[in-house]
Amino acid sequence: MTTVEPAVARGGAGDAKPNEPPLVRVVDLWKQFPSARSLIDVLRRPSVEPPSPAIVDVSLDVRAGEFVGLLGPNGAGKTTLLKILATLIVPDRGTATIAGHDVVEQPANVRRVIAPLLANERSLYWRLSAHENLELFAALLRLPQREAASRVSDALDVVGLADTGRKMVGQFSAGMMQRLLVARALLGHPRVLLLDEPTRSLDPTAAHSFRSFLREELGVRRGCAVLVATHRTEEAFELCDRVVVLNRGRVAAIGRATELGESLLGFRYSAWTTEPNHDALEDLVIAGRAHRVAARSDGDGRWWRVEVEIAGGDDAAHELLATLVKAGMPIARFERVAAPLGELIDRAVGRSGRR
């Protein structure tokens, strides 16, 4: 497992509080689902190897105000972990507590402090208005009627649906429905949010503003602990304080996304040039000072974007840039870039040796 020291503090009021006990504590969690086999199949092949466990000895903490991303290939165990924390699945071994309540022993207490955002927009009443949907869930959350009315208005206001609160949900766009799901999650003033791909149905612009909203509202204003399963680079790098890479149910890597990227993939830079195969760059690659990752044309074939990994970080990059410029390589732009999430996961999974 690759571990990078957790960088829980990121500046700002919504940051994690390292001195407080974690709101989410998972210790050596283990879950194996029973295999779904027919009776005839069991009689035919009684000694078939049981399926791989979905979660294997997973341990992690999430503090108030902290966003932790769950990454990994499909079937890695992200959703299973979220569902265990949401009290929908019972683990076989290990413990998981939320705000001090055990998810197996005290599920009712857990449900009072969590707000899972696992279901999709079909879990809304499409023939009712947003306001009516929230009124319903205020009752299910057992809020007193007087308080429920103000919470519904507040929640709609927070997600920017105050003006369309009386409109039928069936007429909403995917983004509006996603916002309504968040409003529903916020109704009970939860301390822990469990989000499963919260921006999957949003376009890039809506997803960006949605992430800003999540960070500002949940992290900064409300100080919630947030666990978010995602496949999006932006969520892992911009939204999450730390990420946990899962592979076949095990923690393959844990740490801050950018730092994990640097430790697993090196420092990555992109250079805009008209000569992607310039001799000076080739010499540096041969000398092992840079590792070429990719080169892409901008369309008309004149300018190229060359991505390189440079061991040694910004100081080494500065020297390398100076060498290239001195050798006459035309460079219009040179910048540090985030490693693609897919590569990061691949590398973490590959290093954990259980792919």
Partner: protein, 268 residues
Amino acid sequence: MSTQAALALTRASWRTAKSYRVSFALSFASLITTIIPVYFVANALQPFMASVIADEGREYFGFVLLGTAMLTLVSPAVSSFASAVSGGLSSGFFEALLVTPTPLPALLAGQTGYAFAWAVVRLVLLIIAGTLLGVDIHWLRLPEGLLITSLVVVAYCGVGLLAAAFVVSFRTNAAIPQAVLVLSTLLGGVYFPTSVLPPIVSPLSEWLPLTPGLRALRQTLLLGYPLSTVGGDLIQLVGLTTVSMLVGVLALRWSFGYARRAGSLAQY
């Protein structure tokens, strides 16, 4: 607070149903068009049926009316739990409900509340229409009638919970609601007294809560007998209700435990 949650769910279903205006209006209209033909057919058969139904009533129309009315309540009791769970599982709505602090019984009551409320409205309309068409009901026996009706409905709720347990565990209701409804309609004394059933199916008929329930209901409401006279049927009904609810509740509890272990509670 659980009642508030259940009522909120029922209200949401009511608002949804109300939003389909044409369908809502047609369902009222169909009720009226159902009762009129029954009235004429029952009157035509009265000379032949009078002696057959003598133990449970004098007019065949009243006999059929109570049978139909009871079936109106039995239908949601048997079907609505499994339908609610199945629909909720496939849409993900059930998952959203299960992670709220509202207990499962309140969620199930709320999810099926509208179906029951609608059935009660239909029943009341049927009884009113029947009374207007001349059915002689002993209104003083209404409390006894309500007790018997409640027992029958609770007994069938047990079957409904068993069907819901099958849906939670195996994603199928195993045709339990359909089978029980068909058997109850044919062998439970809805359209003819169970005394005319062939001896080979008579014992089976006595295992259906509808059989003693309808017998007792008709004797109290149509013939005006006191509860003490229908004691045998009442004891039989209480026994069936107890067993049915016990089986239903235990099966549902087991199925939720199994689904939580198997991870299938929130699969859709």
